[in-house]
Symmetry: C2
Subunit: 321 residues, 2 copies
């Protein structure tokens, strides 16, 4: 059996995992990222977590084929430099070189990739997009993350900053997005977007079930509208319908551009299951350019959750082969 290390570098946690040739995570180690602090210090902790995970797996670093890193920001997979990360406060950090230095083994290759791309690759090699030739993965979380895999290769554009599907405008002049644009897919289809729509509806309908639930729970969450819809609230159903309308628009856009075998959707909002997915798929089927074709993209739910990033990172050596 061959073994690989994947490191998921986040703004909050550093998680390293040892993954076996069957795509199973057999050991993990994690620590806080503690941003902001110097990039070398964070790299030292990443190397330490890799070593700890390897030890936890009962292995030696010599047993590891390669190490892969998933990082927020613009990760240049050719040079190994994390060119820019707003979350981490890094600019032109030679992260691959740092990890090599701290691990101290010249014969262990180290790879780096953007975290959303790494997670998409994880679903592609071992999760819901397994078996696809071309796949696009979208994660509905605080933002809308996305990754594109074409013919087994991660596509990140000529400057390694592409695949920002969340930052495509689906309503010119629409809701403010964190990226500075107005009307981005992310501004509507993220959990944050759903919460915004729910709050707007509560303001318009202060006597609605949503308003009551928000008061009772002390906050509005991405589940408020779905929960109240299930309890029969008409205004909540309007919010859910609106959310699904925008999500379907963005998903249809992605299919019309990429026509992948599989479009994989993940993130907390997907836990809503069929009440979200069935009406969304229905709109996509009606709207997609190939609606009359018998070969259409399959829409599936992500399988690996937070492990996608570690598994994807662990197999970056394959993506780069």
């Amino acid at each position: 059996m061959k073994y690989y290390v994947g490191i998921d570098l986040g703004g909050t946690n550093i998680v390293a995992g040892v993954v076996d040739g069957n795509y199973n995570i057999i050991a993990k180690a994690s620590t806080k990222t503690n941003c902001p602090r110097p990039d070398r210090e964070i790299a030292a902790d990443m190397a330490r977590m890799a070593e700890e995970a390897v030890k936890n797996a009962g292995l030696d670093m010599g047993d590891i084929e390669w190490i892969g890193i998933g990082s927020p920001g613009i990760a240049n997979s050719s040079t190994g430099v994390l060119e820019y990360s707003n979350n981490l406060g890094f600019r032109d950090t030679p992260l691959v070189d740092y990890i090599k230095e701290f691990i101290g083994r010249d014969d262990t290759p180290v790879f780096i990739e953007n975290d959303a791309n790494a997670a998409a690759y994880g679903e592609y090699v071992a999760g819901a997009a397994k078996g696809a030739r071309n796949a696009v993965c979208i994660t509905l979380g605080t933002g809308v993350g996305s990754g594109i895999v074409i013919d087994g290769k991660i596509y990140s554009g000529s400057n390694f900053a592409g695949a920002e599907i969340g930052h495509t405008v689906i309503e010119v002049g629409g809701a403010q997005c964190s990226c500075g644009r107005k009307g981005c897919f992310e501004a509507y289809s993220s959990a944050t977007g759903l919460i915004r729509m729910t709050k707007e509806a509560i303001e318009l309908h202060p006597d609605s079930a949503m308003a009551g639930m928000a008061k009772e729970r002390g906050k509005v969450t991405a589940r408020t509208s779905f929960d109240c819809m299930r309890a029969g609230d008409k205004y909540a159903k309007d919010v859910v319908d609106k959310y699904i309308k925008y999500l379907a628009a963005g998903v249809t856009n992605v299919i019309n551009i990429f026509q992948p075998d599989i479009l994989c959707i993940g993130g907390g909002v997907c836990n809503e299951g069929d009440p979200l997915l069935l009406p969304m798929k229905k709109i996509v089927a009606e709207e997609v350019y190939t609606r009359d074709s018998d070969k259409n993209c399959e829409i599936v739910i992500a399988k690996l959750g937070n492990d996608a990033g570690i598994i994807g990172a662990a197999f970056l050596g394959k993506a780069n082969s």
Copy 2:
């Protein structure tokens, strides 16, 4: 010198060209498509035009490395079957086999590709996108055509129906598109979209210069608003500004997804030059996700015009190598 034949199959004309190894068209032959008629008849005329072009070039079919076809619709480049074309009324036409049969030379390979993809590939190998690793080409015509070239390969998705960037919604619930969706990029950024916006403005401002020009010329064209803007009409400038706003939104979307080295824009509307391009590029530069990066996509104007399709088709053997 090596020679190649490219055939541009359109709803109106069939044009075949002989292209030399320097990407120059050295001879052409053309005939009317005369749709609708049986696909075999049209294929026979395509083969005849190829032979005529070769003869016009002073060559023999034995001098030709391969033949490439650019066709409207879903062209399966693996099987050589034109699976569907609304324009031509074809379904599952084995176009590559037909051409091989009519040409009667087993040793001359024949390739097929969607026409917009072939035109994009033409700009990629010999035109405005030459030298790029990744390029996206957009044509602002009756519709908004587009083609994607990644690492020298044409990207058309898993079912050969992708790259329909014109059919991505940029305004949910917006203007009706020919594809059935509402608010597509094409509905705003095609010449047809510009004419619609101009007509809407004329209706609102029947005393405007645009209304006068429309009456004088007997029709509204894609140039009416630009011409009247240059003559100082405020309402015309509003139309142009609106057109540019939507075009910039769609172009920024493409860059945020693909981050190509080069985004190439063609089609008649581009003849407006700087009054169109400079404000559009300014908005894109302000809005693009990598606005703070020093590596940004270059936006250029297509060079090859209608020849792009023939040249791209002629080099399909290279795209498929």
